[in-house]
Amino acid sequence: MELEEAKKLSLELMQTSKAAYLTTIDSQGYPITRAMFNLRNKEQFPEFSEFFAGLDNEFEIYITTNTSSSKTEHIKKNPKICVYFCDPEDFKGVMFGGEVEVIDDMDIKRKIWLDWWTRYYLKGLEDPDYTLLRLKPKMAQFYYRLQKVQFKPGEE
């Protein structure tokens, strides 16, 4: 498979995967995986399509979470994470790895906010329990059936 093809299919997968599988490392050194909202899923979150289309690095990943969650605790000690997107029926998957950042910039947080999220962050956008994470991935691995293609996301 050509690199360009793998990149194109990876972007498609990011826009259709039902969840983003986030893996952090806990204080004992074990990986911990859980499903998160895939904010790039066009069907589930059409509100954010424009934001993602305007990114300089088309593979940037944003994840919202509670500041009080265990994953926030993990990444404070160890920012190494990976995020996996997949289409289980077609045996297609893509994984991105790198160091995650906590975004404090309110302008960005405002762009990644929906009113119904008060269900998770009672006090709204300004709730100190609302955390926005960003991964500018350093590496990517695309899997399709028995093939595996590695690439550097964001590099031409």
């Binding site: 490392i25 050194g29 859980r34 190494k80 790198g98």
Partner: protein, 153 residues
């Protein structure tokens, strides 16, 4: 949610998931996740249910993989892994953590050998590229909507 219910739902999720999300840690200390076929998925692998029914540990999981794969390299250096099953539509998931082992026992390797395995291991059951992994989880974490329940396995 009661612990007994959590355990029951966890086993249900294991037995009804096509894939298991398998995470290892690479030599640079980054987690690496990929989907693997779940040998406990009853609909796809009825051949293995008898074997699993006979096990004492109801959370034990076996995976087949290529000896030459990156995950084998990772686990030889660091056996700490996690295995995650989920039903994204219902916001339900279960995560197991523990140390994984490479199984050398030919009887077990034979249990997990299928005719279709030749596609991955052309030399057959004795192919040195055929590896079976056994995972006896130490801890479990069940996620349902906004709840998270930890349990000992």
């Amino acid at each position: 949610m009661e612990l007994s219910e959590v355990k029951e739902l966890s086993v249900e999720l294991i037995e009804n998931s096509l894939l298991a999300y398998f995470s290892t840690i690479n030599s640079d200390g980054f987690p690496i996740t990929r989907a693997l076929l779940n040998t406990r998925y009853k609909e796809r692998y009825p051949e293995f249910s008898n074997f699993y029914d006979k096990q004492n540990d109801k959370y034990v999981l076996y995976f087949s993989t290529n000896t030459s794969s990156s995950k084998i390299k990772h686990i030889k250096e660091n056996p700490k892994v996690s295995v995650y099953f989920c039903d994204p539509e219902n916001f339900k998931g279960v995560l197991f953590g523990g140390d994984i082992e490479i199984v050398e026992d030919m009887d077990i390797k034979r249990e997990f050998w299928l005719d279709s395995s030749k596609r991955y291991y052309p030399k057959g059951l004795e192919d040195p590229d055929y590896t079976i992994l056994r995972f006896k989880p130490k801890s479990g974490r069940f996620y349902y909507k906004l709840q998270q329940i930890q349990f000992e396995v």
